[in-house]
């Protein structure tokens, strides 16, 4: 099917797919983080709004998870260097 498209259309399709795939990866991460951070932060029965503690826990959870990822990468790199 690809050979029926001209080069410009192929390029456009490729750019589109790359962008959609990147966005899909971000969306999947958001699902994973929401699930994980919900378990960590929302411990009681859900009420009509989040407490300020619950809200900040959710935001902190995301940031600290990403910090953890960076930490692990650096640790692995330093161990490899040794």
């Amino acid at each position: 099917m690809a050979d029926r498209f001209d080069e410009a259309t192929q390029k456009e399709l490729q750019t589109f797919l790359e962008r959609e795939q990147a966005q899909a990866r971000v969306q999947q991460s958001i699902h994973t983080f929401t699930s994980m951070c919900w378990d960590k932060c929302i411990t009681g029965t859900p009420s009509t709004r989040f407490s300020r503690g619950e809200e900040s826990c959710l935001a902190n959870c995301v940031e600290r998870f990403l910090d953890t990822s960076l930490f692990m990468v650096r640790k692995i790199e330093s161990e490899r260097g040794a």
């Binding site: 966005q23 971000v26 991460s29 699902h31 983080f33 699930s35 919900w38 929302i42 995301v62």
Partner: protein, 77 residues
């Protein structure tokens, strides 16, 4: 292209519904009986709202963080 976008949006919505179902059943229906009680339904309704809110909070936090790291990456380059 539009149909691919639609499919991805649908998959996204599906995942959200599945997650909400799992989390809220866990929290609200602790002793399943022969029907959902009205207090269980109230709990499920609130839980649904809260999970959506959590999703949005996580979304915003993640997007802000990505933007910040992109800026820092550019500043270092």
């Amino acid at each position: 292209m539009a149909s691919i976008r639609n499919e991805l949006a649908l998959a996204n919505a599906q995942e959200l519904i599945n997650k909400t179902n799992d989390k809220c059943f866990l929290k609200c229906v602790t002793k399943p009986s022969t029907a959902l009680s009205s207090s269980e339904e109230t709990c499920l309704s609130r839980c649904f709202d809260r999970y959506m809110e959590a999703f949005n909070i996580v979304s915003r936090t993640y997007a802000t963080r990505l933007a910040r790291e992109r800026l820092e990456g550019q500043a270092q380059a």
